[in-house]
């Protein structure tokens, strides 16, 4: 191989690597992050309608085959859902009085009550677009009142938090993501932190004192600490297993998400920011 050609090849690769590292630096630097974020925002505004157009074409085909193959299980699932809806309607009627009382008490204590907060209903466009992060993409963005930091609820509990907001789309980090940490309260005003462990791993509850009495299935809710990133009272997780190892400084608790993260077709974005 001619020497000049080899030199040119090496130079090209060096330039591309330096360019990539420069882009990463711009993205990681807090002062210049808005630059890369802006580029991504513009790209997403162009990309989202194109992607939706492709999905509109291929989804009916996929749904047709999925419906034909899973007809029996879909019918059984419908029956289960109808039964659950009936039970929920009955429970809702019973809980009306308790909710009113709770709303009054939280208002007295100046705490935000989730059902009194404004929400934006969004459709999930995309789930787990990367193998390395647990995120979903919503079809609502800044123009629809969805901003970074807003909590996202649905399917029975807390789903996650908005981490990127573009013009008409937003990216939500799920509570199972490795970077997700949620302050929780459970039992008799006990506190802990629910940590995500990655898209394919279970979540854990940390900073809980050894031998804390727990029950399997015990619910954990977002706490009302001043610095909390979420409004209080949202179901986050339920206890799956717990034990305290000899000499451990905290109890080992595995938890399951309260929300059914496999059913995220529609979610509510809560227009709420932590009090500073």
């Amino acid at each position: 191989m001619p020497r000049s050609r080899r030199s040119r090849r090496t130079l090209t690769v060096i330039i591309l690597v330096v360019l990539s590292l420069s882009l990463i630096s711009l993205d990681q630097n807090a002062r210049t992050h808005s630059l890369t974020s802006g580029v991504k925002s513009v790209a997403n505004d162009v990309y989202a309608p194109l992607r939706q157009g492709v999905l509109d074409v291929i989804s009916p085909i996929g749904n047709f085959f999925a419906g034909a193959v899973n007809y029996g299980s879909v019918q059984a699932q419908n029956e289960r859902l109808e039964r659950t809806i009936g039970e929920l309607r009955a429970a809702q009627l019973e809980q009306g009085f308790e909710k009113n009382q709770l709303r009054e008490i939280t208002a007295l204590q100046n705490l935000p009550f989730l059902q009194a907060l404004p929400t934006v209903t969004a459709q999930t466009q995309d789930q787990y677009s990367s193998n390395f992060t647990a995120t979903i993409t919503l079809d609502k963005g800044r123009a629809d009142g969805v901003d970074v930091g807003y909590p996202v609820v649905g399917a029975g509990g807390l789903v996650g938090q908005v981490i990127q907001s573009f013009h008409h789309t937003a990216v939500v980090r799920l509570i199972t993501d490795g970077q997700s940490k949620v302050d929780v309260t459970f039992g008799s005003q006990l506190l802990g932190i629910v940590d995500g462990q990655g898209p394919s791993s279970s979540m854990t509850a940390d900073l809980v004192a050894p031998h804390t009495p727990l029950k399997k299935g015990e619910p954990m809710f977002t706490s009302s600490l001043d610095a909390a990133s979420f409004p209080p009272g949202i179901p986050v997780a339920t206890v799956r297993t717990f034990h305290t190892s000899a000499g451990a400084s905290q109890e080992t608790i595995d938890v399951d998400p309260a929300a059914d993260l496999s059913q995220l077709a529609y979610v509510d974005v809560v227009q709420w920011v932590p009090s500073t």
Partner: protein
């Protein structure tokens, strides 16, 4: 460059609409890495690096991972695969599947490690066994259609040195 850009766009769309739904064991196939791999095998390390950079950058625009990370990994992957396959006779029939499987797995490892170095520690917390199995097997399947697309794209760029024009369309990739 227009054809290469078109192929990158098509693969991006297929990945983000169809492939992301094919989740097995918490992982889905990753077509991104096959672009620099096939470009590198067909036209050498320089083309592999250039295609890897632009393909990675395109994916970076829509992924929640650090901006520029896919571009960096794609560029390094294209260069490495191009260099290694040149030394190992790129015309051998086993080169493409082996490069696809080994390259995709290596790229995912590099991507995760660099992501963790950049502060995204959760990127090394994934189930790597499931990820490598899914990405490895799917790369073996998808390398052939993507290789055909890349051959078409590079032929339009007038590359003379590579397998693209030297072999014509006689090789049934």
């Amino acid at each position: 460059m227009v054809r290469v850009a078109l192929v990158i766009f098509v693969v991006l769309m297929v990945q983000q609409t169809v492939i992301v739904a094919l989740r097995i064991g918490g992982a889905h196939p990753d077509l991104l890495w096959l672009l620099p791999i096939t470009a590198a095998v067909l036209d050498g390390p320089e083309t592999g690096a250039i295609v890897g950079f632009w393909a990675g950058l395109s994916f970076d625009l829509v992924l929640p991972t650090p901006f520029g990370l896919s571009a960096l990994v794609g560029c390094v992957l294209g260069y490495a695969v191009g260099s290694l396959t040149t030394a190992a006779d790129p015309r051998a029939t086993w080169v493409r599947p082996v490069a696809a499987v080994a390259g995709s797995i290596a790229a995912d490892m590099l991507f995760a490690v660099l992501g963790a170095i950049l502060g995204q520690g959760e990127m090394v917390q994934v189930d790597f066994l499931a990820l490598f199995l899914v990405v490895g097997v799917s790369s073996l399947v998808f390398v052939f259609p993507i290789s055909r697309l890349m051959r078409w794209a590079l032929a339009g760029e007038g590359h003379r040195r590579s397998l693209v024009s030297a072999q014509g369309d006689s090789r049934a990739w």
